[in-house]
């Protein structure tokens, strides 16, 4: 057993220029920790999509990453509007992104599907008017 390594980020909801920064930092850290390119890629994609969702849909939030012996866990929590219909939100192509956000290249409705596809475990806890917490894990063994 190793001590879990943890990282915490406050994700700014106003600032599109720094959107994705937490994911970029985590990627660097995982490289330093010696993880394989495949694991790093999967964590990077999942975390980036979750981080961006908090910026564009929830006015920011917090990202916590824990590196454990058997998996890397990413927890994204926000106090945004919540997701009224999770099953619908998970569908490829579903997006409520506004026109000004789409003009930046977001809004394909592929973020949540990507998060599901590239992780080994994903759980969405959400309540309308309260916020959303997404927990994802990427296995690092076998």
């Amino acid at each position: 057993m190793h001590e879990p390594v943890t990282f915490h980020f406050d994700v700014d909801g106003e600032n599109f220029s720094s959107a994705g920064e937490a994911s970029v930092i985590i990627k660097k850290k995982l490289r330093q920790l010696g993880f394989s390119p495949d694991i790093i890629r999967r964590v990077s994609i999942a975390m980036y999509e979750g981080e961006i969702n908090m910026v564009i849909h929830a006015n920011g939030g917090a990202a916590d990453v824990t590196v454990m012996d058997e998996y890397i866990e990413i927890v994204l929590s926000d106090k945004g509007p919540g997701i009224p219909d999770v099953e619908l939100a998970m569908r490829e192509g579903f997006s409520t992104a506004r026109e000004n956000i789409r003009a930046l290249g977001f809004g394909a409705g592929m973020g949540l599907p990507n998060m599901k596809k590239y992780t080994d475990y994903m759980k969405i806890d959400t309540e309308v008017g309260v916020g959303t917490k997404i927990t994802m894990r990427v296995n690092t063994t076998g």
């Binding site: 220029s17 990627k27 994609i45 999509e49 930046l104 290249g105 977001f106 394909a108 596809k117």
Partner: protein, 107 residues
Amino acid sequence: MTELKPFMDALGIRVICGEADAFDGVYAGDLLSRAMSHVEAGNLWITIMNNVNVIAVASLADAAAVLLAEGVTLTPDALAAAEEKGICVLSAEQPVYDLCAGIAGLM
């Protein structure tokens, strides 16, 4: 890996910032969460999107370079981010299809 220089000469591709000698495969597309999952390490990514989020995706996906089509240039904050992250960004006058066809023709 494919050497980039012959493609740059033949298609009139200019360097906006950074350096890239070679690439391995091409992805063309503008929607970021599609690019995020389809741009593979070493790819040349052709797009008309020029904002700072393109740089974050290129960096996370380990793209060899971003090639901006239709004479597009980077926004100032995207240029600053590309320089800071060491991302190579290129630009050409042709639309995406012509760049793809031109690159394929030279392969």
